[in-house]
Symmetry: C2
C-alpha cells in the first residue's frame, strides 16, 4: 500500500494507516456525508474560505454542523500539508453523521470529521490546448446544492469515460443540462456565457472566473437545454482541481468548430492569472 | 459507546472497536458501496440464500464482486451471531470498492467486505393491529435494482417521519409510486394485489409472501399511480426486518376505511407462518 501520509480524524492528526473509521459510521453504512476539496497553489490552500463556506452549507443541508471554526481547520490543513509534503496537494474534508448502533439513528452532535490529502493530479496540457470531450448521461443529483459523497453514477461510468477519452459525464434531465459529474458546466452562445443555475452545486472556481470576467463578458444564469449545449459556439467546465477546461465535443457532436474558442481561452487565462496571484 | 460485539472485516473477525475502515475507502469517500441485511428467526439467519443472491446482484451492478462463496459467508455469519449473542439480530453485509489513493480509482479486486450485526428492533404490535402511515416524497432512486448505501433522502427526513408518526417515506415520480425508502410497497384494489415493478428493488420478504399467497390472491405486477395508491382499498409494505406492515394512511389520505383490511391481514398471517416454519 502506498504511503498516504497523515490524516486528521476527530481531533487528532495520525498516520493514515492508524486512522480508523468505524464500521458503524453512517457515512459508510448510509452514505450520509458531505465533503469538499480544494487544491494548493504554491503549496498553499487555494480559495480555502470559499470551500469552507460551501462545506458548512452542504453540512447544514444534511442537518450536520462542522465541529471546528475556520481558523482551527486552517491550522490543521497547514499542518497536514507540511507533514505530507507533496509538491501540490488536494485537500479533502469529509463530514459524516457519525456512528450509529442501529444503522438508522445517529447524534449530529458527534459527527465524524476527516481531513485527508492527495497528491495533486494534473490534466494534460494538451486538454487545455485542444479541448476535451463530455459524455451525456440522464441524471439528476439528489440534493444538488449539497456536495454529498454520492458519486455512484460517475464511478460506475468511470472506465467508460476513460475508454471514450472523455473528461467527465454531462448530466441532463427533462431536456436541460445541469452540470458535469465532477465539475460545473457552461456554454457560450453569441458571445454570452450561459450558466445553468438550478439543480447545480455552486462552483467555487466557476464563480471566481465569472466574477473576474464580468466586465468582459455577459453572463446569463438560467436554464440551458441540451440542444443549446450541443449547438453552442463554445463549452467549458470548471473545477477546483482543473480550473477552466475547454469542451470541444459532447457525445458525437462537435462544439463550435471543434477548437478551443476565444471566450474559453480568455477564461483560462483569467483563471490561471487568479491562481498565480494568490 | 455501546458494545457492538464482533464484526467481520476483510478476512478477520475482530471486536467492533478494532475494526478500522480506511479513510481512503470509496465506500466512505464516494458512497460506492452496496449492502444487504436480514434478520434472524430463532437465532438463525432468515432467507440468507435470497439475501446473498440479491447482495451479489447489487455488487455486480457496481462492477464489484463479493469475494467469498456463500458457504464461507454463512460460516462467518453463524460465528458472529454466536459471539454477539443477541436474542434476535439484524445481519448487515456491506461491500465497497475498497481503498483509493486519489478518491477516484480503485481496484475491484480488493474490495472492502464487512459484516456487522445489530440487535433486532421490532415494530410495535399496535402498528400491525391498527396500521401505520407513509409520507409521500417525490424521488427516484439512482440505481433502484441495486441495494446501495445511499439513504440520503430517507435519513434527511427521518426526524420528520418520527414527528408525523409515519413508518416510512413513499417515493413517487411522474405520478407513479415505486417503493418506500426502506421497504417494498403494494396496494390492494378490488381484491387484487398490485406490485409496482419498475424502478424498485426486488423485496425478499415481499416476493416470499406473494409467492405463498399466489393461490389465494391475484398479483398484478406493473405501474401503480400515486392516485391509485391513495384511492386503494388496502396498502402495505414489506421488509426483511418488519415483515408485512399495514398502511392505513398516506399523507392526509385515509386508505380504505382506515383499518387493516382482509388481504393485508391474510398476508401478515402468511408471513408470520413462513417465518415460524423456518
Amino acid at each position: 500500500m502506498r504511503n498516504r501520509g497523515h490524516v486528521y480524524l476527530n481531533g487528532r492528526i495520525v498516520p493514515a494507516h492508524e486512522a480508523a473509521i468505524s464500521p458503524f459510521d453512517v457515512g459508510l453504512l448510509r452514505g450520509y456525508a458531505v465533503f469538499d476539496l480544494l487544491q494548493t497553489v504554491g503549496g498553499k490552500p487555494f480559495q480555502l474560505e470559499g470551500h469552507l463556506e460551501r462545506f458548512r452549507n452542504s453540512a447544514s443541508l444534511l442537518g450536520l454542523q462542522v465541529p471546528l471554526p475556520d481558523d482551527e481547520i486552517t491550522r490543521i490543513i497547514l499542518e497536514l500539508l507540511e507533514l505530507n509534503d507533496y509538491d501540490e496537494s488536494i485537500v479533502r474534508m469529509v463530514l459524516t453523521g457519525g456512528e450509529s448502533d442501529d444503522g438508522m439513528h445517529f447524534d449530529p452532535a458527534t459527527p465524524t470529521f476527516l481531513i485527508i490529502t492527495h497528491e495533486l493530479f494534473t490534466v494534460p496540457e494538451e486538454s487545455y490546448r485542444s479541448g476535451t470531450k463530455l459524455v451525456t448521461f440522464e441524471h439528476r443529483r439528489e440534493l444538488p446544492q449539497a456536495k454529498t459523497t454520492n458519486y455512484l453514477t460517475w464511478l460506475r461510468n468511470h472506465s467508460m469515460l476513460e475508454q471514450e477519452n472523455a473528461i467527465d459525464l454531462l448530466y441532463h434531465a427533462d431536456g436541460y443540462v445541469s452540470e458535469a459529474a465532477t465539475a460545473s458546466f457552461y456554454v457560450v452562445r453569441n458571445g454570452r456565457i450561459h450558466a445553468p443555475d438550478t439543480g447545480v452545486l455552486c462552483g467555487t472556481v466557476g464563480t471566481m472566473v465569472l466574477d473576474h470576467a464580468a466586465s468582459e463578458f455577459e453572463v446569463v444564469r438560467g436554464p440551458v437545454t441540451l440542444e443549446d449545449a450541443l449547438g453552442a459556439d463554445e463549452a467549458f467546465i470548471t473545477s477546483s482541481v482543473r480550473g477552466v477546461v475547454p469542451i470541444v465535443q459532447i457525445d458525437d457532436s462537435v462544439i463550435g468548430d471543434g477548437t478551443v474558442g476565444p471566450v474559453t481561452t480568455s477564461l483560462m487565462t483569467i483563471c490561471r492569472g487568479a491562481m498565480q496571484a494568490e
